[in-house]
Subunit: 328 residues, 2 copies
């Protein structure tokens, strides 16, 4: 394979000049640029990106962490981010934390070892105090999730309001026995805030919730089915369920229908996200503006890389919207 | 930030020795390793990965091309690939071609500019003759898609059989007017083979297909809905539709139900993939063994990187299975 020396020889220029052209150094004449470019083409010489990046001290690569890419909320988020990044000349490294603290810590090392220019976290598994030291190595943007102590740009949704408007809608439909179905994601501020919104609406209406109407560990369609099986066994089951996910809601509706229950007469269910699934299954849900979240997070990331400012807190809070269909 | 010189100074060793320890050079005493390691820790020195990679001539990064990550077939494929890659110390760069030739060619440059060690293509947009020259720069594995002329490892499914068993099933249910609904993906061998299987089953049963029973450009739930609107207007519509996707099939079933048609009595529909959606919507479909495809493709990729063999053709053909539900 051709080397930079070969290019210099063919162009009749010094190695230093060739290197300057490749690295877009100023003060190189157009004539020299042309000679180098011709020689590179003739020899099919390709500058090694690792070497180029080493000189520039940039990887032009951004890592995005998601819990799992098969959750349509996260695949949609990543789809838009990748599109935005590609437009601006950046690549996306995909990391799946699978809701595991250790997995997240492994991936944080990408920043420390300078394999990426920055990190976008769409979920947070570890305490922020464990993540913060990594800011010494490059910018982090938090998107979808939320942390009070994070001195970084955060793009998130008003999840208290999300929990509140969904629950208020159920109460307005006349349901008084309301259950709550969620993941067991203790570090998640999203889950925490939604629950606060749920309880707020309950309190305002003077409603009580039984402990047994709380269902945890639900992330997928299968978990939704399992949740219905548990609910079915209760002597006094809830009439309506608030869930944190369209997939979970769809699983509940499917299992309920299979068991001969009518939705919403015997059991009302509200999802979250407004995935294509929600429309197909006629689920009432809360719409999240995924494209806007993804675009804003990527913009803030690239801004942070370019400005080299890593520890500036900035909150972008986006609105949520109730979409009413047939499951409530 | 600390430099390699600082480490050398604190350890009381030469820069060369420190560099040897970092690059796991043989013939370095345990004592020197310990001294360097202690000094690195004390100074919080992190070797630059670009520099390390430059020396090793490896990026430990693999690029995966998908048309779009929001198609659940591809997000599932990528989920498993990322998991397998992470286990073996590789990162995954995600590229979305959005079914565009130019986009694919841009991404091929990642291999040429040595930003990745290898490429996995899950779809092929360009003629293979346009992709082949890039094999000079590193290994390519084709997965899901297929090309006759590609001298690379290929992991794919017997799509002729997929088209055949789906269509045969429809014929066995008593339908004689069969329609076909697909993407307009001219370079796709997958689409081509499925159609051959469809026509083979039709021929064996002595059935004819009207031109107007062919519906193109269908990839998403929305496209499925649009397809039903077109079908509804025909004076002699097909009784059953073979589709290449659960999303499209779900869109057709939803639009048909909304219009008061009974599925499968007024219109039978068969999907493809066996996505969670298919179970929720009670779709008959063809199951693809996604985990096996993804795992095998990643194994072949890492084998190719390690053996530095880039142009060996190897075919891994995996089976497909009919899953019967209520849409037929």
């Amino acid at each position: 394979m051709a080397t930079i020396q070969d290019v210099a020889k063919l162009a009749g220029l010094s190695r230093t000049t060739v290197s300057r052209v490749i690295n877009q150094h100023p003060y190189v004449t157009e004539e020299k640029k042309r000679l180098v470019s011709n020689a590179m083409q003739e020899l099919n010489y390709v500058p090694n990106s690792s070497a180029r990046r080493l000189r520039r001290q940039q990887t032009e690569t951004i890592a995005v962490y998601v819990p799992r890419i098969t959750n349509p909320f996260f695949s949609h988020l990543v789809e838009v981010m990748e599109k935005e990044a590609a437009k601006k000349g950046y690549q996306l490294i995909l990391c799946q934390t699978r809701y595991k603290k250790e997995q997240e810590r492994n991936f944080l090392e990408l920043l420390k070892t300078k394999q990426v220019d920055g990190l976008i976290l769409t979920s947070i598994e570890n305490d922020w105090s464990k993540i913060e030291p990594y800011l010494a190595y490059g910018p982090i943007v938090v998107c979808n999730e939320y942390s009070d102590s994070a001195q970084v740009p955060l793009v998130f949704l008003d999840q208290i309001k999300g929990g509140y408007i969904g629950t208020k809608h159920l109460i307005e439909q006349g349901y008084t026995k309301l259950g709550y179905c969620t993941g067991d994601h203790k570090s998640s501020r999203v889950a925490h805030d939604r629950r606060i919104g749920f309880l707020k609406a309950l309190n305002e209406a003077g409603l009580q919730m039984k402990d047994e109407w709380y269902f945890g560990g639900a992330y997928s369609v299968q978990d939704g089915k399992r949740t219905f099986e548990a609910l079915k066994k209760l002597s006094d089951p809830p009439q309506a369920l608030f869930t944190g996910s369209d997939e979970v809601a769809a699983g509940i509706v499917k299992a309920a229908s299979d068991a001969g229950w009518k939705v919403p007469e015997d059991l009302a269910v509200i999802g979250f996200d407004n995935q294509p699934l929600a429309e197909l299954m006629e689920l009432t849900t809360i719409e999240q503006p995924i494209e806007t979240i993804a675009r804003q997070a990527m913009e803030l990331m690239i801004e942070s890389i370019k400005s080299k400012r890593t520890s500036v807190r900035k909150e972008v809070i986006l609105p949520l919207k109730l979409i009413q269909r047939c499951s409530t």
